[in-house]
Every structure is written in structure tokens, then in C-alpha cells.
Symmetry: D2
Subunit: 329 residues, 4 copies
């Protein structure tokens, strides 16, 4: 019942008068009805599995058919393209690599919006330009559907264990419905504001993360060269105003901490290439909003240079290694 009203409330919110309940979406009436999932890559795959574990029937698709095998074996129905997903599910999650993929999955010739049902809830967990999120939201609204951006923080490990953090932008009255689904895949689901603010929060966090990581790497390297023991230096920073996540939780210097990529030759973790992509988004939004981001901009350039020097697939904390190698080696 609450679900019925909830659907009502949505329509009411926009067209408050003369609601004909006969036309109200049944989308979330039975919460264990089908959920669409588009994009079964490294992140999407474990996310879809977590939906299945929580009892949701999943109807999925991916441009690479082989990516669908695992979830198919676990019971998901596989269809040919996003339009078909939209034909069969009124709650859909998309998890795609970049803006053009998202644009295609929503507005392309076989895109969601070709067959989307009125009242559908479309949640995009890709990390893309907030301006694209806004465009998708506007296009969805024209079709009577609701679009929310809900990018994640946390990598493949968090996706597998259902411990992602979702940063959600969109109509506040839809947040409860979105949270119901996202909670199957994440430990934190944070409402950020209007459409695009989920992306904004994600991009902002990652820009500051990149700055903190490069800064920590420079600082640790300088301290070591000045004769400080790296563990002691990390300890001093972490009890002082230099403290940051990169120094106290994900230290880039091999041997300072256990269980982080710096202790494993920078394997695993969050790739330099992915960080460069997110910094590119940050740079684009900053340019478009005429916002000066001098350190964010330089961080972008450094990760871009690292990609050009063979670090593309190493964890982004490998900037320590990039900066420290000695002359003559």
C-alpha cells in the first residue's frame, strides 16, 4: 500500500491535481518484481549478483555477450539490448564506462527510452559528466520516466561484498525507492540533491583524493630523502594537520601499511587510468563552470603523464613510485 501511494506521491508531486489513480505506476508495488541491469563489467557483474542474492529477478544486457554468462547462470534473464530491458522492467540500473556509453544506452536506437514505461525509475551508477546526467534526466522526463544519478565509491571488492557507497542525485521523493534497490549493493546510500549532484559529489571526492594521494606521495618521498623513517613520518603526519585518507588509510609507500596496493607492487585497487578519467570529468566540469582548480588540474596532468609512461593499469597510489625513481636508474 505504501508503495502504491509512493508511486502516487511522485505523480502528485509534479501534477498535483486531478490524479487519476488508474494510471499510476505500479512500479514499486511488488518490490521483488523484475529489475533491469545494463552493463555487466567488473563492477556491474557483482552488483547484479547482489540484486539476485536479495531475491530480485534480474533482466540484464551487455554489449559483450560473454559478460552475461555468470549472472545468467545465477538466474538472470538476458536480453539483447537496453530497449528490451526497458520493455520488461520498470526499475533499471545502468553501470557503464563513460558518458557516450550512457548516452547510447538511454537515447540510442536500441536505448532504454525507446521502450521505457511511464513511471519507470532509471538509476545510472556510471561515473560521468553531471551535464550528461541532466540531459538524460530531461530526456527521461519527456517519456514520463524518472532518472537519478547514483555513482559509487568503492572498487570491485566493495561491489562484491555489497559495501559500495552510492551518491544519489535526483528528485528527493524518489530517493526512498532508489535506496531500496541500492541498499542491496551498498552500505551507504547518500542523497546529494538535484540530478547531477551524485556525480558532482563523486567527482569532487575523487579530485580531492587524487590531490591528497599525490601530495602524500611527494611528502613521503621528500621526508625519506631528508632522512626520516617512512613509518615514523606517516605516524607524525597522521597525528598532525597533514593527515588525510591517503596517508592514514591507503599509504602509497611500500612497507608503511599492510593490505594496501603499495604493499603489493601497486596491483589491484583503483587504476591510474580510471583516476585520470575521473580527473578529466572534474576538469571538464570545472572548465564549464569557470571554476579554478589549480591543484586538481595539475593532478589530472600528472595522472595523464603516468598513463603515458606505463602506469595506466597500476593502482593510483603508484604515483609514489612514479615520482621517486632515482636519477641514473
Amino acid at each position: 500500500m505504501a508503495a502504491v501511494l509512493r508511486g502516487c506521491r511522485y505523480l502528485v508531486g509534479r501534477y498535483p491535481k486531478h490524479v487519476d489513480f488508474a494510471f499510476v505506476s505500479t512500479r514499486s508495488m511488488a518490490s521483488k518484481t523484475q529489475v533491469g541491469f545494463i552493463g555487466l563489467g567488473n563492477m556491474g557483474n557483482p552488483m547484479a549478483k547482489n540484486l539476485l542474492k536479495h531475491g530480485y529477478p534480474v533482466i540484464a544486457t551487455d554489449v559483450f555477450p560473454e559478460s552475461c554468462k555468470e549472472v545468467q547462470e545465477l538466474g538472470a534473464q538476458i536480453v539483447d539490448n537496453p530497449a528490451e530491458v526497458a520493455d520488461k522492467a520498470d526499475r533499471i540500473i545502468t553501470m557503464l564506462p563513460s558518458s557516450p556509453n550512457v548516452i547510447d544506452a538511454y537515447t540510442g536506437p536500441n536505448g532504454i527510452l525507446k521502450k521505457v514505461k511511464k513511471g519507470s525509475l532509471l538509476i545510472d551508477s556510471s561515473t560521468i559528466d553531471p551535464a550528461v546526467s541532466k540531459e538524460m534526466a530531461a530526456a527521461a522526463e519527456k517519456m514520463g520516466a524518472v532518472f537519478m544519478d547514483a555513482p559509487v565509491s568503492g572498487g570491485v571488492g566493495a561491489a562484491s561484498s555489497g559495501k559500495l557507497t552510492f551518491m544519489v542525485g535526483g528528485a528527493e521523493e524518489e530517493f526512498t525507492a532508489a535506496k531500496e534497490l541500492l541498499s542491496c549493493m551498498g552500505a551507504n546510500v547518500v542523497y546529494c540533491g538535484q540530478v547531477g549532484t551524485g556525480q558532482a559529489a563523486k567527482i569532487c571526492n575523487n579530485m580531492l583524493l587524487a590531490i591528497g594521494m599525490i601530495g602524500t606521495s611527494e611528502t613521503m618521498n621528500l621526508g625519506i630523502r631528508l632522512g626520516l623513517d617512512p613509518k615514523l613520518l606517516a605516524k607524525i603526519l597522521n597525528m598532525s594537520s597533514g593527515r588525510c585518507w591517503s596517508s592514514d588509510t591507503y599509504n602509497p609507500v611500500p612497507g608503511v601499511m599492510e593490505g594496501v596496493p603499495s604493499g603489493n607492487n601497486y596491483q589491484g585497487g583503483f587504476g591510474t587510468q580510471l583516476m585520470a578519467k575521473d580527473l578529466g570529468l572534474a576538469q571538464n566540469t570545472a572548465t564549464n563552470t569557470k571554476t579554478p582548480v589549480p591543484l586538481g588540474s595539475l593532478a589530472h596532468q600528472i595522472y595523464r603523464m603516468m598513463c603515458a609512461r606505463g602506469y595506466a593499469n597500476k593502482d593510483f597510489s603508484s604515483v609514489f613510485q612514479f615520482l621517486r625513481e632515482e636519477e641514473g636508474q
Copy 2:
């Protein structure tokens, strides 16, 4: 006599066997003998007062006689110059603005080393180039004295309340004696390693602090322009990997936190000019050790530009204000 004995203990510290306790220094045995203090500025003044409060007779000097009045009224003996301090005290603390002042106070015509007693303990709490600390240590050693660098973190408030953090470099066997004095003025006294590592730790911390502060300011500004509420954005960053001291303890955006300079028009706190000075030291040590510090270097330039634009005396978190002003205003 005390000096001779002290010198023994010092040597004993290095050759730990066959210690004849009869010869152990009385320097710290009689802990409430005179302590010299050179440099009674904004920081030195409250520090010297804390020594007096702890019952130490203080013999002090400053190039500006008027700076001596307060401690004189509290019982300190004032003399004309560092040499005279050294003539009367075998434990001396120096707290001076910059490298040239330190060089002069130690090796100048009326410097400490002109009259230093063998076995004296010389503690420099100024923030200077670690290379200068090493030079002073070598010069002191020639005179049979021990030099330690012990720069502080924490500002005038922490100095007044005796809550400074001291980062100490020098012979480890002298650390206990140094700590006895420094504990009167600080809450934390951390041993960092050989001479100069105290400075190194201080400089490293402040470089990372500057990077974190500018990064936080850029990020908050970008997020606000993208439609995020600043308090919400700070909360998201602080539960995510963008978290740093500047975001969670000293947020630069007015209204996000209470009790920080951003809430008080950037009055008080740690001045931009002082940060620019510390970043200049970081830059110099990085240049001299051929260490790349791209973000540290750009942070230095930004604080330098801020000094040129009227921000010299505002708290260093005012970089948020520097970056955010709108076109046309």
C-alpha cells in the same frame, strides 16, 4: 663543573658501557637550574612563560628589548645577547623567525657559540632549513655542545596553553633531557631521528597541509558551483576517501564548521605569509635533494600569489576566498 660532568654523560650516551655515575651530568639532575631563552616573539613569549610557570629560572634575550618586558616582570633575567645567555645557562632554547636569525644567534659575533659551555644542550624550535640545523649542530659539536632541532606545530594558542607538538631531531641519547624541558611547553614531544629530521617532519607536514587545504578549497568551490550544499559535501568527503584534516577539522568554507578561521573572516589561525615561508623551505629542501614535488611547488606558488594579492595576514584557509570570487565582482 656541571658542564664537565654533563659532557661526560653525553659521551656516556654514545659509549654505554662502564658508566661511572659519579660523572653523570648534573645538567638535568638539577632540573630547575637556569634555562636560556632566545627570541621572545609571538611564539617565544608564551613558551618562556610556560617554563617560568614550571619553576625554571629563565634567562632571556631578544633583539627587541620591549619584547622582554613581560617575561621580565614574571621573573626572567634579561641579558643583552645570546652570548651572555650562553655564559649563564647550559640549557638554551631558541625560537626565531628564520634561518639567518638562527645563524646569527648561534654563530654571530654575539652568538651562543662565543660563550657556550661544554656539554650545553641547545634546542632550536625555529622552523628553518634542515641544512642550517645540521650546520649549527656541527658548529656546536666543535664547541663541545649538543644542538637539537625541535620545531613546533600549533600556533600562538597552543603555545600559550602549553599544547604545542615538538618534532625533535638530534642525538637520541639527548632526547630525554630535551623532552624534560619541551614537555613544559608542549603536549607532544616526538623524536624524529638525526639532526634536521625535526625540521624535515615539520616541513613535510606543512607541505601536505597546504596541498590539502588548497585541494579542499578547490573541491568545495567546485561542488558548490555544481549545486551541492557545502555542509553536505563536507560530510560526504569526510566519510569518503577525500577526507583530510582541512576538510574535517579546519574546513575553509564559511558556515561549514564552527570555531575555525573560515567562520571569522579568516582572522587568526596560521597566516598565509607563514605558510608561504614554510612552503619556501619545503621547496628549497626539495630542490637541493632533487626531489620532485609538483603539487607542493604549485601550492607554494599559490600562497606566494596570495601574498601578492593582499592575503598575507589572513589565515591560510582563505585560499577558498581567493579562488572563489566571481567574475565581475
Copy 3:
């Protein structure tokens, strides 16, 4: 009829055999037929006047009707929107502030492509993202028209005196026709390659210009502080490897050269805001092509900061003033 024939010539250009000259376009044969002009701002106005001076009938439009008065008085026919221009002229020049304006003028509801004639030659002299130029070219090609990008270097003065430089991208076989028109407004018309390369050349030049200007300003300022006479320093740089256009032709230090904005309180010339815009384009194309541009990126940030500090409308050489102001002033 002319349009049909012109279309033939265009096709002929691609399929060079069996050309029947009887079908060759009359577009440029009767060179003094109407030329469309869209965008009569600071630059477009004098450009359109030069077309009139060269005897071309001009049919023009601008979103601000008052911008049309001058050319109307000189004989230009004013119409309501770009579609109407396209209805009456098969050679059209657009000169607009930014990418969205160009997109609207070509593909908007009253855009050129609504009524463009087959075989029309569309030349865009705006400075925009080369990716947008490519999109416009593709859209024009669908309608049987030819699009070329032809951004200019040189400011309002060069526009008035017909001394602009045009950097032209597009089908090489159309270059002669484009050059015929552009030569009325410019002293140099350079063919750069496929569509978008005109923009690329413009953006590249301006990025290097910005780097050179900031670099010259830093260098002159440093030299002056080190005791060098600015005129002498400029002379030394200009006979050495530091030489660049900003040092030898447009020196940013007041008093070093005559007839440049630095001698006139940075009035006139090329505004900081316009430079920031071009650097934003450079940054975007670099991000999109994954090209590291560390100095270009920092130059962008510096001009962005200057805009935020009141320099938006000063000549871009005012970066010297921005960097040099003394502490305490």
C-alpha cells in the same frame, strides 16, 4: 540552378574524373552574388563591412537587432534569423561567441540547416571546440552543404583593417572558394587540413601564446627583483633562447615597448576572459584526446584565477601585474 551545379562541382572534387565543366558550380563563378553573414559583434561587424567594401552584397542577421544597424546603413540586407540567410545566400560566414551559439545557428529551430541550399559553402570563423566543428560539418554534409572552420587570429584592429589571419579546416577542394571570400577580410588564409584543424591550429597557437605570456611575465618580474633593468633584460632574452612573441612583440612590462597594452594600463588588446575561454577549449580538447598539457593547463587556471580577481576585461598581458604586486600593498 546554381545550387545544383555547385553541388556537382563539390562531388566532382571528390571524384575527379570525367568532369563536365558545364556543370561546374556557378557559386564562385559569379563571385559577387550574395554572401550571408551571421554574428555582427565586435569582430563580425568590421568583417562584414570588409565584404561590403569588396563589393559583395551582404545579407546578415544577429540576435541583437541593434548590432545590425551599421552594416544595414552600409547596404547590407538584414533578415530575422540564420535560416532566412540560408534561404537567400549560398555562401555564409558565421562569427559567434561560443560553441552553443554555433550549434544553435546551424542546427537550431531557425538554423542555417533548416533552409540551406545544396552545395552551399558554410564558413564558421568562431573559435569553438573542433569536435563541434566536426559535428556541424557532418550535419551540413547530410544536407548537401559544405562546412569549413576558419577561426581567426588578430583582434578588432586586424578585423577592421582586413588583416586577420584565417586558419581553415575542411575539404581541400573547397579551399579556393573559401579563400576568395576570406581574403577580403584577412591578410593570411592558411589551409590546415580536414574539418576541425583550423580550430585546432587556433587553439594550439593561443595555448602556446598564453604559456609564453605568463612565462615572460614571471621571468621579467624575477629579473627585475634580481636587479636587472627591464629593457635590458628584454633585450637579452630577445637575442637568446628565451625569445618569444610575448617578449619581443608584446612585452607585458610597462615601459619596455611602445604601442602595446602594457603601456596603456592593459586596456585594449586581447581580454583575459577571452584567453581563459580559449584555454578552456584547449583543456577540453586535451582532456578528450588524453593529451597531457601541464603548462597549458596551469596557464588556464591562472587566467581563470585572474578573471576571479578583477582582470577579466584587461588585456591578457596584465598577468605581469597580477603576479608582481608586492606584499603589503
Copy 4:
């Protein structure tokens, strides 16, 4: 006779009254009397040879005896240390790698000033911190000698062919005497002002050179990725406001120009390590004079990172190669 008077004039200039001509230096009376030369490295060796070619008897020394062989075979007298050079020659040129070497050669235990004759002319062609030049000048003045800084531009090739440019700082009345010697080794000898301004001019030029080179490399790389032909792009830049020495005389892109290191796998030319050193000097002088040099500072960091990545001994134009390598290669 002129030479005698010239010597007089010098003393007169400083102690204008009561000159006793008996004590006047005979230094430059016979211009082909011995010239001292200290530092026979890659640059010093061909410079000393040019002095020999011009008929000057040379008395030389170097810390590496084997460096002395060539000039010894050509007739130079080799002595053990700078003090002995000063004992036998009253005009001395020093050409050393860095500030500490210069300090040692002048003020060390076997330094020039131990045996320098009153009225001697000491010319330092090393590239060092201008502050050190000033210290050396002050120390020399105490001994009655004259010190001038005269760093060079031009590499080993220019040193061999006698085509160096000397930038000279020091007492103007000594310039003629300095020029007489320096003209044997260089094509241009430029008077820059007081002591240290020769260094200042050198450092300023090289900072702007580094900025221009990195800027040109970024720009060329960006343009190529945007589809421009590199030769055409260079041509366009060189006729436009992006023009600089690095684009028109020493283009970093292989194939654009002949006879430059980019055409020879970046062999020869001016090594990245040497550029990093000069940028370190620029950074230090900027820090010490509180001058913002954002691009110069970033250029320093980039050349420092290049040294850490294996580019130390390649020509500094190899920054193009450093920036351009593709992802995945």
C-alpha cells in the same frame, strides 16, 4: 698606457683621492700576460683552448688531473690548486659545475683568495646562485680583488667555436677588461649590471626557455593528436603569436627541423639534468625574493620528474617524447 690608466681608474673609482701609482695593479698592462683558468670540464676545456689560441699564456688547474692533459699539451701550465693559480696570474677565469665548487675554489683552504693579488680580476663563468656571486664578490673585495659573474649561454659547440654569449655582472668600470678576455671565447659579451645580474640574466633566460620548450612540446603534441601536420603546425605557430625560439629554432618534434637534437634521438644539445639544475637556481632565487613563478616552478618539477624517469642525459627538448608516449606502449 691605456691599460695602466685603466687600472688606475679602477682604484680611483673606489678610493678617488691620494692614489699612489706605485701600488696600482699592473694586471692588464701587458694583456698577453698569464691568464688563470680553473675548471677544465666539457665547457672549460674548449674555453681555455680559445684563450691559448688568442696567444694568452694559460695557467690552469682542475680537481681531476686528467682533465688538464689536453690544454697542457697545447702549452698551458698546470698547477695543483686555485691558490697557486692566483699566485701566478692576476686575471682568472673559473668555470665550475655548481655553487659549492665555486665557493671552494674561491674561499676554500686552497682557494683563490688565499693568494690572490691586489687588483686581480676574477671572472666566474659558472652558472650559480646570484647570491653566491655576491658573497664571492664581497670576499674578493676584502682582499682588494674584483669579482665579476659572467655565465654563458651556448653549449659545448659554441664553447669550441668561440661563439658563446657572456652575461656579465659587476663593476661597470671593469667591464672593458673582462670583455677583452671573454671576447676570445665568445661572440657576444653583454654587460648586465651589478654583481649577480649576469647570473640573473642567465637564469631568467633559461627559465623562460624551459617554459617555452615544454609549452611548444605540449602544443605540438596536442595539435598532432587533433590531426594537424607537425611541420604545418610549426609553420603556423611561427608566423603567429605562439612563436618562440623552441618552435622556430629548436623544434622538439622529430622531422620538423634539421640539425637539432629532436632529429637525432635527442642526443647532444643541452641535457635535461643541466636544465633541471638551472631551474633549481631559478626556483631558489624566486623563493628567496618571494617572487611567484608558477610556470617556471612547474617546468622545474617536470624536468625533475624527467630526470627520475631516465631522461637526465637527453637534450631538454626530449620533453616532447616524455609527454607524447601513448597509453599501452
